[in-house]
Symmetry: C2
Subunit: 215 residues, 2 copies
């Protein structure tokens, strides 16, 4: 049985998991590039966007690990698309081009029905309209023995955390202050949820924290 | 002209500057010892509590620096005392024994008048009942060319931050999660206040962050 996990999710030291003003031209919001610096420089990420090179350091190891053994993915609708409301624009196929980096089923949480979207490289986006528990059941079935990764964004991760559904969470704290945005741990009591510190590694660009559920 | 600064103030990664359930036996609240681990081990702190030894590492340098060039101190009443309300118990002279580690005037914010308290080693506690601006004016006058340090707790620092009165702030992020307590940066937008990252240093027990006001 695989785990349900969050991995390589970046937050600022003041707790924000995404900048303000997300848009088509600015998918990760204001100062998102700074926030994700630890990952952008890595070999894993550079390869993903078609470049050679990139670092092969500890940050790269965490980036690499975040893609390993994932049998299915779950993400919030705002992570899939800059649009809101019904799927008026069926041309939108995510931010990631014809061959997204998921290579497995991705369950997108939405209030609006849409047919599955089959992409190159084994990624299929399924649109789930009946909530996180249903999405998780579908994802677990699809993942078989592998892990289910909750990709984001902030409110999706919060909902899974508050429902006690996360077994493992790797957060990368980026040493910057965003000042405003979506606060990941607002109202989330990690010790109370049974999530205990299992690993911390400091690099020049991040504090990597791994929390594991202890039953 | 000296600076108004916060120094060596410790917060958990989920943003809490103090644990819950502060009491006479537990002055820094639940898990406060874990929170302050980076400082407790240092030579500076061990000397303060009458021990020899302690580390002489980067953490110690930050602890040392936090006591340098301070001409006056400001603290909230809850940092001075576990009691609340009027000063029924005039015997209470702070947590620090006869010779507190301040060696300069300390202005204690309170709603209740009390005569100044002269201690050994140059520390005098003055009780200020007319607000933070008044306390700061008195502290600046007492400090002359030196700095004024806002010691804490969380709500005192928040009030000074929100009033735009802090020139420099050193926070030590301790890689633990408290889950609940007083959240230092809740509703505080550091970039908007003009406080910019000036220094970050990672050690085994803390992420030291220095922010400076840029006008």
């Amino acid at each position: 049985m695989g785990k349900v996990k969050v991995a390589a999710f970046t937050v600022s030291l003041d707790g924000f998991g995404a900048g303000l003003n997300q848009s088509l031209k600015n998918p990760i919001g204001d100062r998102g590039t700074e926030l994700h610096q630890w990952m952008f420089k890595t070999k894993v990420f550079q390869k993903m966007i078609g470049n050679s090179g990139g670092t092969t350091d500890t940050d790269n190891e965490f980036a690499e690990k975040s893609f390993q053994n994932i049998g299915a993915w779950i993400m919030g609708r705002n992570m899939f698309s800059p649009h809101r409301g019904s799927w008026a624009n069926q041309d939108w196929k995510g931010w990631w081009g014809d061959n997204p980096p998921y290579h497995a089923p991705v369950f997108v949480l939405t209030h609006h029905e849409r047919e599955p979207l089959h992409m190159e490289g084994g990624t299929t986006f399924y649109f789930v309209t009946d909530g996180i528990e249903s999405a998780l059941a579908k994802a677990k079935e699809a993942a078989k023995e592998k892990d289910v990764r909750i990709v984001g964004g902030v409110s999706t991760i919060q909902n899974f955390l508050k429902a006690g559904l996360i077994d493992e969470m790797h957060l990368a704290y980026s040493p910057i202050f965003l000042g405003s945005g979506e606060n990941l741990l607002l109202g989330v009591n990690l010790p109370k949820l049974g999530l205990k510190l299992a690993q911390k590694v400091l690099t020049d660009d991040a504090v990597h924290i791994v929390l594991e559920k202890q039953n």
